[in-house]
């Protein structure tokens, strides 16, 4: 991980000097994470891909504003967060964010490696879909993206206590939905 962080800093330095190939290499390292983060927030593959492209374009245009290359990850996800929630605002009237997830009824992403039970990934996606975007985002950033609470606070521009509260509330809801699956023999 340390080796990789050093390489990323090197690529960022080269990209800042205008080396587009260095930036493309940087993208190839981060695109899967950003794409999956956005996919789980917005729930649609095509939109997640469009947003991912916007995120990396904005990141390239603002690379000089990144003070510390070691903070690239939270900085990049800050941009991704803004793009995701801008997208939500465009879907709905100004100032009104959806209370519940808006996964279209016939668009539950069920994909995943063949090694994992289909019903399990569908159950998880459905459970996540029932959370509000803010709560779902907290789960995604902590559990799927592995950010620390301080990094999440930086991405979401809110106190650590707020981040924790959102995550823990979401976890309580998910616990109620997913834990009973065991009794049905799904896990």
């Amino acid at each position: 991980m340390i080796f990789r962080a050093v390489e990323d800093a090197d690529l960022i330095g080269k990209a800042r000097q205008g080396e587009v190939e260095a930036y493309n290499l940087l993208i190839s390292r981060w695109e899967k994470r950003v794409y999956n983060y956005l996919l789980r927030i917005v729930g649609e593959r095509e939109e997640a891909l469009d947003l991912s492209q916007d995120v990396f374009l904005k990141a390239y245009q603002n690379l000089r504003k990144l003070d510390d290359p070691a903070r690239f990850a939270p900085w990049l996800f800050r941009i991704a967060h803004n793009e995701a929630f801008s997208s939500f605002r465009k879907r709905r009237p100004e100032g009104e964010l959806p209370d519940q997830a808006q996964f279209p009824g016939d668009e539950i992403p069920a994909g995943g490696p063949a090694a994992f039970p289909i019903e399990l990934s569908i159950a998880v996606t459905t459970a996540l879909g029932k959370l509000s975007p803010e709560h779902r985002e907290a789960v995604i950033l902590k559990i799927y993206q592995g950010f620390k609470f301080e990094e999440m606070a930086e991405i979401l521009e809110c106190p650590v206590s707020t981040v924790k509260s959102r995550l823990y509330t979401a976890l309580d809801v998910l616990k109620a939905q997913l834990a009973p699956l065991k009794s049905r023999g799904v896990t």
């Binding site: 009824g105 016939d106 668009e107 539950i108 069920a110 994909g111 995943g112 490696p113 063949a114 039970p117 289909i118 019903e119 569908i122 159950a123 459905t126 879909g129 029932k130 699956l181 049905r184 023999g185 799904v186």
Partner: protein, 183 residues
């Protein structure tokens, strides 16, 4: 009399609550669909049957719908062993071609099963989904899996499947109603 009426109301409320908390889709209905899909798989082709390697498992997920999964191989084949150290190239090609040929049959079987499930599972709300997933096994050591998926997942809203089943929509619309994911 008043006391009896109150007790009756409380008892009725308790019974109603218990019924509401109980499973919306009965286990027997799920089991029936599991067995029905197994039978479809085993009888889909008399000439060379699908190799069923895992009987169908069904579960109802509230807010999502009924999810069924099964595991099979498109063909019964041999495998490398100490007595057969190398699979002949022509056999590899033959198996690959045969499996590609049988994929449409599997998908047809799955679509028919989904229509059947939509009409049988009354407990699944009309706006929830019927999901049917099949995991496909291969001997990856020697098999050519080019163009062959490891999982096929079909899902569609129960109401839309019912519309086709009841003749309110044409069968040709099944392709647009059923979303297919191949992994």
């Amino acid at each position: 009399m008043k006391r009896i009426a109150i007790y009756s109301m409380l008892l009725a409320a308790a019974v109603w609550t218990a019924a509401a908390d109980g499973p919306r889709v009965g286990l027997s209905a799920i089991r029936a669909m599991e067995q029905s899909f197994d039978k479809r798989i085993l009888t889909a082709s008399t000439e060379s049957p699908f190799d069923l390697l895992g009987t169908t498992r069904g579960v109802y997920l509230e807010g999502c719908g009924a999810v069924f999964t099964a595991e099979l191989s498109l063909l019964v084949t041999t495998n490398i062993s100490p007595f057969l150290q190398k699979i002949p190239k022509d056999y590899v090609a033959k198996v690959h071609a045969k499996k590609l040929e049988r994929l449409p049959l599997l998908k047809r079987t799955m679509r028919e099963a989904m229509l059947d499930m939509a009409s049988s599972l009354d407990g699944v709300p009309a706006n929830e989904n019927i999901v049917l997933g099949v995991s496909l096994d291969y001997f990856t050591k020697w098999e050519d899996t080019t163009g062959l998926p490891s999982q096929i997942i079909m899902q569609a809203q129960r109401q839309k499947l019912l519309d086709v089943q009841l003749g309110r929509a044409s069968r040709s619309s099944l392709d647009s109603i059923i979303r297919v994911e191949e992994l």
